[in-house]
């Protein structure tokens, strides 16, 4: 067990070193570990929040099945992995590609379907109906996974497809797989902002978001843009689902609900409809959770309670999010 041996030597060194610089040393490396955890969570929440912001931007609607789309994405990825293993493909890279592609494409399709079946037909109805319909749609999706996926009610083991090398500086451990996921997540966010800013589709999405009537009169195929936006938003969630699976090495059917509410809270904190707001909101929520865990050392399970309480207080102070929703209410 070579790696373990080397580890032990370094640990004795670390213990000696720690004895020397007890005060400052202790805080910095732990702090770094917290920041690392926070960044990982923040990125996942940001990806989910971006979905909410895209849907709201285009249609002024909240698509509340989004959290469960994330879980469905992770399960789709897991199914692809199982199929590949069954077919005898053992090496990690093709498996990883298959998992990510299956998850994102299948959820893009599901997202567009949800938009087509649940959201567009309800354009005329009161806005709350869309929230209710998609909330129930999310419940149906969650129950389908629980009931029809083999052993769906149990947590499923998600394969560790990324290399698991890690470097430790005293007690801060940086794992290669976390680093890769962070880089991939950031690239995805940057890529999305480029798509929105540089491409015709992006222009069309922003136009529809700004003012639907004028955009439609300018010849923008409204339905196509909406369905594409739903596809993109859902694909983001699927990617976050795969990240969740790789990070925790486990997925279960019920985690989508909480992640959906957290993603929506993050999007609202940042101001629904604003791209930067969603990313900021995601990291802000993760920061709140980490702060909550650090501030209440032995009752860290309160971190969700702390984070959601702050969300409610912030919304009382700024009802439409920190940066504020762009569309004021017309009298």
């Amino acid at each position: 067990m070579g790696r373990l041996g080397g580890q032990r030597v370094r640990q004795r060194q670390a213990q000696a070193e720690r004895a020397l610089s007890a005060g400052a040393g202790r805080a910095v490396d732990l702090l770094a570990q917290y920041v690392m955890n926070g960044v990982m969570l923040g990125l996942m929440y940001a990806l989910v929040a971006l979905g909410f912001t895209l849907f709201f931007g285009v249609l002024d609607v909240v698509q509340f099945a989004h959290g469960d789309v994330l879980t469905a994405g992770a399960f789709a990825g897991l199914t692809a992995y199982a199929a590949l293993v069954h077919a005898g493909v053992q090496s990690a890279v093709p498996q990883l590609l298959a998992v990510v592609l299956t998850a994102t494409l299948s959820m893009a399709l599901l997202g567009a379907l949800l938009g087509r079946l649940l959201v567009l037909p309800l354009r005329g109805a009161p806005p709350l109906n869309v929230l209710l319909a998609t909330l129930m749609g999310g419940t149906a999706l969650r129950e389908c996974i629980r009931l029809f996926y083999p052993g769906g009610s149990q947590p499923q083991r998600f394969p560790a497809l990324l290399p698991t090398a890690s470097w430790s500086v005293r007690r801060f451990t940086l794992r290669l797989d976390n680093l890769l996921m962070i880089v991939a997540g950031v690239l995805l966010v940057v890529g999305l902002s480029l798509v929105l800013r540089r491409t015709r589709l992006g222009l069309a999405i922003r136009a529809v978001a700004q003012d639907e009537e004028t955009a439609r009169t300018m010849g923008i195929d409204f339905r196509r843009v909406v369905l594409l936006t739903f596809a993109i938003g859902s694909a983001l969630a699927a990617f976050a689902g795969v990240m969740n699976g790789l990070y925790y090495n486990e997925i279960n059917f019920g985690s989508g609900l909480l992640l959906g509410v957290i993603g929506f809270s993050a999007a609202v904190l940042g101001g629904l409809g604003s791209f930067e707001g969603a990313v900021l909101g995601g990291f802000l929520f993760a920061g709140l959770q980490t702060l909550g865990a650090v501030a209440l050392p032995f009752a860290s399970a309160y971190k969700d309670v702390f984070a959601f309480t702050v969300v409610i207080l912030l919304m009382t102070w700024k009802p439409t999010g920190l940066i504020g929703e762009r569309l004021g209410e017309r009298v």
């Binding site: 213990q15 202790r26 009610s153 947590p155 083991r157 007690r171 925790y248 985690s255 865990a293 050392p297």
Partner: protein, 385 residues
């Protein structure tokens, strides 16, 4: 008496008269366990074992009644547990019950069974209060409690030279019970508990707690809780580069724990009352019969106890008849009744004393009894030794 009930009774009478002695009375027995969710493997193992007991009893010509197993799922949740317990207790045709693996559910349904007068035998929950908190004649238990489990655990780990623990436990009485009793026995033996964290049963992310634990630099992370949390914590320990030894309780002794972690499960230590099936007095017989029935999932750690509980109930009903009150009085007198988990004796609290505590370690993907493992013989080393 509304007419449908009356009609059914008359029909039954006619049936009995017309068919002299050929058909035996049907007696219903309830089985309650976690059939869905994270602990369903153990629940299904228990159900199959109880079902095996019923099948064998029905096959035996000497048995006075035809037994039928009514299977109910408590989802390892107290509220669902009380609901199905009320349904079982309220159903007059159910005479007795083999109830619960999850302590959080068992402690909740004690009142319900007492109120509805249903004699029950717990087959897997280890929380002492289930039987010791009050003296209800209806409540019995064949498996042991967590008190002696932690005594043995502390002795063994201290003997291995471990001195510094961090405890993570779920906030149910099961988790808190293990936290309390292990701290008591570990500190008595010179060990030090650096810190303890309560976590909720459906918590997903433990990086915050584990980062703090890492800051305390423990030799061992003691986890008091069930398999789903155990898997997540052990996996996230590896993510944060925590190389402490992982020590669990009876809650993680299941194949799902190993399946969930893969290589990471290697070297994990856990303790539980009673021995694995093959080491039990009636173990070989039980495993053979279990295999014959070709159940889709294994009996798991508490299958034998479920079998023993079901068999004891049916034998008692055979002796005293399918009436709840007489069954309760008969169970009170159970002394040294032979069973596959060894002789069963119920004390005044209905608790069967199970002396044997088994230490187990995961070796090459299987739970192995500590004494037979390469960790005991020294060929393999626990973490940090």
């Amino acid at each position: 008496m509304h007419w449908t009930l009356a009609v059914r009774r008359i029909a039954l009478l006619v049936l009995l008269v017309a068919l002299p002695a050929a058909a035996k009375d049907t007696v219903k027995l309830a089985f309650i366990g976690p059939l869905t969710g994270g602990n369903s493997a153990i629940g299904l193992g228990g159900r199959n074992s109880a079902d095996l007991a019923v099948t064998l009893k029905n096959a035996d010509p000497k048995s006075r009644y035809q037994y039928e197993l009514v299977v109910l799922d408590d989802e390892c949740k107290p509220d669902t547990g009380v609901q199905v317990a009320t349904k079982a207790g309220a159903d007059r045709s159910i005479v007795a019950g083999v109830t619960h693996y999850c302590s959080v559910v068992a402690i909740a349904t004690v009142e319900t069974f007492h109120r509805l007068g249903l004699p029950t035998i717990v087959w897997g929950a280890v929380l002492p209060d289930i039987t010791y908190a009050n003296k209800y004649p209806e409540i019995h238990r064949v498996n042991g409690t967590m008190i002696n489990q932690n005594e043995t655990a502390a002795k063994l780990m201290l003997k291995q030279g471990f001195r510094r623990w961090v405890i993570i436990h779920d906030t149910t009485d099961y988790g808190k019970g293990h936290d309390k009793y292990f701290t008591q026995y570990a500190t008595a033996g010179g060990g030090k508990i650096l810190g303890d964290f309560g976590v909720t049963a459906d918590q997903q992310d433990f990086t915050a707690e584990l980062t703090q634990a890492k800051g305390l630099n423990p030799e061992v992370i003691f986890f008091g809780g069930l398999t789903p949390l155990g898997v997540r914590i052990r996996a996230q320990m590896d993510k944060l580069g925590i190389n402490a030894q992982f020590q669990g309780t009876s809650g993680i002794v299941s194949d799902d724990f190993i399946k969930g972690l893969g290589p990471l499960a290697e070297g994990v230590v856990a303790f539980r009352e009673g021995a694995p099936a093959e080491k039990l007095p009636g173990g070989k017989f039980f495993l053979e019969k279990y295999a014959e029935q070709k159940y889709p999932n294994p009996p798991e750690a508490y299958g034998p106890f479920a079998y023993a509980a079901a068999k004891l109930l049916m034998d008692t009903i055979d002796k005293v008849g399918p009436d709840r009150k007489t069954v309760i009085t008969a169970l009170a007198g159970v002394k040294n009744v032979d069973s596959i988990v060894g002789p069963i004796t119920f004390d005044d609290h209905g608790q069967n004393t199970v002396a044997a505590i088994t230490a187990l370690v995961v070796q090459d993907g299987k739970w192995v009894v500590w004494e037979d493992s390469e960790y005991a013989s020294g060929k393999r080393k626990l973490k940090g030794r």
